[in-house]
Symmetry: C2
DNA sequence: ACATAAGGATCGTTGAACAATCCGACAAGA
DNA sequence: TCTTGTCGGATTGTTCAACGATCCTTATGT
């Protein structure tokens, strides 16, 4: 009888799991498009045709339009009335603003670092170092984004985590335009390690100053080289 | 001839301005709904019926669904699959997170205050004081929100301004649930004045500490009294 | 009282249709 | 040759009708 109750309980939980993953078609289409943009399949400036994509994905235009609206607020798409939807091309001002926000959020986060919260950051740093040693620069970039998402999480705010996820997705659009990702990722592998060790040692003021300098350098490097199509 | 060119130039620019303000019906519907939520016409927890609102506004359900998607990301609406769209009810955790974000953003902003940038803040403080003297507590709340949007603007970041606009709209949902807005606005009229004067005097460290204490107090007051419907 | 089935309301999606807008190609005029 | 105007085609934005799926409420049976 106690065993019977446990079996029913487990079955009910499995049904709940099924419900958690249900989503509307519009949301699933948005997921697909989000991934395709992140991996560079759809490139900055490209127009997303309702007709073509609706046909390719086997969904109606209305559903696709809902999906486009879902992505609009994430800074990935730009709607132009009567002309369609385009993958965003970030301006130099956008890049500058991205870094301004990152300074505010990530420098605040670093001041809250405790050694027991650094596990995921350590992992990202190690993954980045490994990928760099093997010349996998795309993977270095990915590990770097994880490192910064991890820093943000030190703030302990869901909203800031969500915002940073979006900012890093936008930044990825910037990198898609760049010709040589190695030059933007390579210098920062060692600096991520340095930041991590400063935080682990509790030298939080120093970590914050180092992170601010890091952003100054990263921004200058990017602004110097970023050439969005006009 | 040189005069003719100048006249044509001006006329072309005016036409561009007309184009700037054109928007799709879905966007205009979202604007209307956003205002109606902000003013409390649609209240937290209320379900927004596609049928009823579509009929009332004279737009099709598809257009309305697009408008709902536009508002979803602003934290004003909550989609529930197969059950409809509801005006968000913020949880206590939401309130706590809102204040966490505000501390990060607004305390960073205060450190950047310069006397020549304080005009709009001064105006908001004065409007708030005037409204309080006349017992217009809703207007006090509005002036308070303007003051804080003004603080955020000191960061000089469009993205942070947009984020704060959204956070303050969410906070307004919290106030709609509260029974006595006066008790939440009154103590902060004088504290806004104090913050303003500290910034004007260049005492930025002190202003930042005062703002952090302000948020601790405001959050505690709100968390103590906020009772969202279950 | 509890469980089950049925009915109604509504959401999610599809597809067709039409009006409006935009862009490109081409022709005409200076 | 360059500029302007016109037209046609492509596409977007919106509406409408329809249908299946889901959820909630109500009714019925045990």
């Amino acid at each position: 009888m106690c065993d019977d109750f446990a079996m029913d309980d487990v079955a009910a939980l499995e049904r709940d799991r099924d419900r958690l993953s249900r989503s509307s078609t519009a949301e699933r289409v948005a997921d697909i498009l989000r991934e395709r943009i992140a991996e560079g399949f759809f490139t900055p400036g490209q127009r997303l045709s309702e007709e073509a994509i609706g046909t390719a994905l086997g969904v109606s235009r209305n559903t696709l339009r809902e999906a486009f609206r879902l992505l609009g607020h994430e800074g990935l798409l730009r709607h132009q009335l009567n002309r369609g939807v385009f993958v965003r091309v970030l301006s130099l001002e956008d890049v500058t603003d991205l870094y301004r926000v990152r300074r505010v959020i990530e420098c605040s986060a670093v001041r809250r670092a405790t050694p027991d919260a650094l596990g995921p950051l350590r992992e990202a740093v190690e993954d980045g170092e490994r990928a760099a040693a093997e010349n996998r620069w795309r993977d270095v970039g990915t590990a770097n984004l994880r490192f910064h998402q991890g820093i943000t999480r030190l703030n302990g705010s869901q909203r800031l985590d969500d915002l940073m996820r979006q900012l890093l997705a936008e930044l990825r659009l910037v990198f898609h335009v760049m010709r040589n990702p190695r030059s933007f990722h390579e210098p920062f592998v060692a600096r991520n390690r340095e930041l991590l060790e400063l935080m682990a040692a509790g030298e939080l003021d120093k970590a914050e100053r180092e992170l601010a300098a890091y952003f100054d350098d990263a921004e200058a490097l990017l602004v110097e080289a970023y050439r969005p199509a006009p």
